[in-house]
């Protein structure tokens, strides 16, 4: 058995886009005593199906239980732990930071380095928009802190496997042999 070390595990789930599903997913994590670090939900190209990215602080065994238990929920079409796969992760943050005449030029330098954007300008503050990996946003936050961070909102992570490694919702009726092939490598 592998040593049980807690780390950040990233799961993607396709769920029915209807009331109560988020509650079921969150309640399941609570029942398994797994702490969710971030959970994002958004629509997919099919409006009846939503896609979730769940980042949880747990070990590999916990991630397996979460994945398998999620898939037992009637409203969950597919759940998959993609932590070990080659993937792209993005987080987006809006940061309202103090910016007076003196600090503003220095701030603008940092913003350029981090490829953030100024999306709101007020006499005493700026709102920055930055997207990227969690590390990048944390890094920006670190250097902004001395200027005075007034407010922050983050979306939480969304993730997608790279290239031909497709993770698509199953579409056919149960019993359809094609179902077995969804979620596998692109043919």
């Amino acid at each position: 058995m592998k040593k049980a070390e807690a780390s950040m595990q990233t799961l993607v789930a396709y769920v029915e886009n209807k009331p109560g599903v988020l509650n079921r997913v969150a309640s399941l994590a609570r029942r398994l005593a797994i702490n969710i670090d971030s959970l994002t939900v958004g629509p997919t190209e099919n409006e009846e199906i939503a896609r979730m990215t769940i980042v949880a602080h747990t070990d590999e065994k916990g991630a397996h239980r979460l994945e398998a238990s999620l898939e037992k929920l009637v409203d969950v079409l597919l759940a998959e732990n993609i932590s070990e796969r080659s993937l792209l992760e993005r987080d987006l943050a809006l940061i309202k930071v103090l910016a007076d005449q003196q600090s503003r030029p220095h701030l603008m330098e940092l913003i350029k380095v981090f490829r953030a954007r100024v999306v709101d300008v007020a006499p005493e503050s700026l709102i920055l928009e930055v997207s990227g990996t969690v590390d990048k946003i944390d890094g920006l936050l670190e250097v902004l802190r001395p200027f005075g961070v007034l407010e922050m909102a983050r979306t939480g992570r969304i993730a997608m496997t790279r290239g031909g490694d497709l993770l698509r919702p199953p579409v056919a009726a149960p019993g359809d042999a094609d179902l077995a092939s969804t979620g596998s490598k692109l043919k």
């Binding site: 058995m1 029915e16 509650n23 898939e71 969950v76």
Partner: protein
């Protein structure tokens, strides 16, 4: 054809094959009851909604079909919670239908409004609120499909009063289930299958751990072929009892906390565990760090979430037990396993259960005697429904079940009060079968109001109360682990025979061994329900016992007391 939501529900249930509904009416479900009166469905009025869920559960377990319970909103629904959880933990297909306040009142704390889908979310396989008459038929069909497919479990359908009252066009064909498409996961790869076959054919000391999944998938026949083909000894979980005949020489009996010593020793000494439709519950494994250390493990299981949950396995075959066994069977190579089987026989001889029939009558009445006499008298053919505690373990040890679905017991949740209502449900499922309730004096007092249901429905079952004046299993733990400080376990009970009489049921009280068999006989011959109050030894304990969290091979053995221990095998 225009029908109300309530009428559509009754029509749908009828088309789904339902004949019996266990329930209790109230304001928010009244439209359904009004429609029930015009249908051919047989409604059994219970005395408490917990009883309704246990009855539906007992019905499901005895029949293999879906049991249906019904209640009103609010307290009617919350009273179902224990029964739903019981069904969930033992994978029993039960559909619970609750009334709900009208949709426009939802969330307003209206009279008898409660968020029952919120409450039951973690204890149902699925639950749903129906607030439109148009959705009633489809939802009912989906509920039955979900409850009794895959790993079965309870489903709750909460129907608002306006959805029951509204009229709509009823179209059965257009109301087919529309469940979200799922990825099938039971396509284990060939490598996993080959590894399992390799393990099966190379094992020197294999043992099968047989669980309830065998019964749920109807795999009894192929399972027996599998046992024969591989010459595998079989250990049973509590809920697996009956899926393989007790009289079969390859059946070692029950494993785990109160399993016989040779069974647990065989597991500990094995080099391959073949787990079929069981989930390595802590009552089965004891301390996981010392559990079957020298054994490789194969897990045949339909629920992927059970794989590697408690015990890491070497090969996981995810799927329906019957299908997996059918696939494995042709790959099995016959092995004699003479040494291994001889060794198990030796273990058994060393600590053999004492054919308690041969014991002299010491003037004491032991629960094990009562249960063993009951087994003998009924030729092991009755459906026995137990409660939870010492009597439950004695039943598992001394009533030998050869047929599936003849032991009905609350294993996972361990719900006291289960036996009497579950037995009523079982009787409706199997009206021609002999049904016995085996229940303690504690558990019986939790749901004994259902005696009135028996009388009102004019059904015939037999009730054996194993009455020791204690909450016996808890007392036993206090004896072993709390220095005999019997806090809150001595228990005053009514005169059960007189109580039965008050309900209009024949009651007997037995205090000596000699009266056991004649009274069982007379109860069996009676055409109406008979309750027998067996006043057994008060401070008897269930042996062997693996203390909670202890290692499986470190059991508290039967004391060297000739009253409860002999060395002779029949």
């Amino acid at each position: 054809m225009k029908l109300t939501g309530a009428e559509i529900l009754c029509e749908s249930l009828t088309r789904l094959g339902v004949r019996h509904i266990f329930g209790y009416p109230g304001g928010a479900i009244l439209p359904v009851y009004d429609a029930l009166g015009k249908s051919k469905l047989h409604h059994i009025l219970v005395r408490h909604e917990q009883g309704a869920t246990h009855m539906a559960d007992g019905y499901a377990r005895a029949s293999g079909g879906v049991g249906v319970a019904m209640a009103t909103s609010g307290p009617g629904a919350t009273n179902m919670v224990t029964g739903i959880a019981t069904a969930m933990l033992d994978s029993s297909p039960v559909v619970c239908i609750t009334g709900q306040v009208s949709s426009k009142l939802l969330g307003s704390d209206a009279f008898q409004e409660i968020d029952i889908t919120g409450i039951t979310m973690p204890i149902t396989k699925h639950n749903v609120v129906v607030s439109r008459a148009d959705d009633v038929a489809r939802t009912a069909r989906e509920a039955f499909l979900i409850a009794n497919s895959g790993r079965p479990g309870p489903v709750l359908v909460d129907i608002t009063k306006d959805a029951q009252q509204a009229s709509t066009e009823f179209n059965w064909e257009a109301s087919a289930p529309q469940l979200p498409p799922k990825r099938l996961r039971n396509h284990h790869d060939q490598a996993e299958f080959d590894r399992a076959v390799e393990l099966l054919n190379s094992a020197k000391r294999p043992i099968i751990l047989a669980g309830r999944g065998i019964m749920l998938s109807g795999a009894m026949r192929v399972f027996e072929q599998f046992v024969r083909a591989g010459n595998f000894p079989v250990a049973m979980t509590l809920l697996g009892i009956g899926c393989f005949p007790a009289k079969d020489p390859m059946n070692l009996g029950m494993m785990g906390m109160h399993g016989e010593a040779w069974v647990n020793h065989a597991i500990q000494e094995s080099d391959l565990l073949i787990a079929v439709g069981m989930r390595f519950d802590d009552r089965v494994t004891g301390d996981l760090r010392t559990y079957a250390k020298g054994a490789r493990k194969i897990h045949i299981e339909i629920d992927r979430a059970e794989i590697n949950k408690n015990v890491p396995v070497d090969a996981a075959l995810i799927g329906d037990a019957r299908e997996v066994l059918e696939k494995l069977l042709p790959a099995l190579e016959k092995r004699e396993r003479g040494d291994w089987l001889a060794h198990i026989r030796e273990l058994k001889g060393d600590s053999a259960v004492r054919d308690i029939q041969n014991l002299p009558d010491s003037g004491h009445l032991y629960a094990a005697h009562v249960i063993n006499d009951l087994w003998k008298e009924t030729k092991g053919e009755a459906i026995v429904v137990t409660d939870v505690g010492q009597h439950q373990m004695w039943e598992a040890q001394y009533y030998h079940h050869d047929q599936p679905r003849t032991l009905i017991t609350s294993g996972g949740l361990g719900t006291m009060g289960f036996a009497l209502p579950a037995a009523i449900g079982a009787k409706f499922a199997k009206p021609d079968s002999e049904v016995w309730v085996v229940v303690g004096d504690g558990g019986f007092q939790m749901t004994m109001s259902e005696l009135a249901t028996i009388v009102q429905e004019k059904i015939k079952i037999n009730i054996a109360i194993i009455n020791n004046g204690y909450l016996g299993m808890v007392r036993q733990w206090q004896e072993f682990f709390y220095d005999k400080r019997y806090v809150a376990t001595p228990l005053v009970a009514p005169d059960f025979a007189a109580l039965a009489n008050a309900f209009g049921i024949r009651g007997e009280r037995i205090t000596s061994r000699g009266d056991v068999t004649p009274t069982i006989r007379s109860a069996r011959e009676a055409s109406e329900t008979v309750l027998i109050d067996f006043r057994v030894e008060q401070e008897d304990s269930v042996y062997p016992m693996v203390p909670a969290g202890g290692s499986l091979h470190e059991m508290i053995r039967r004391p060297n007391n000739p009253l409860v221990e002999t060395a002779t095998e029949p």
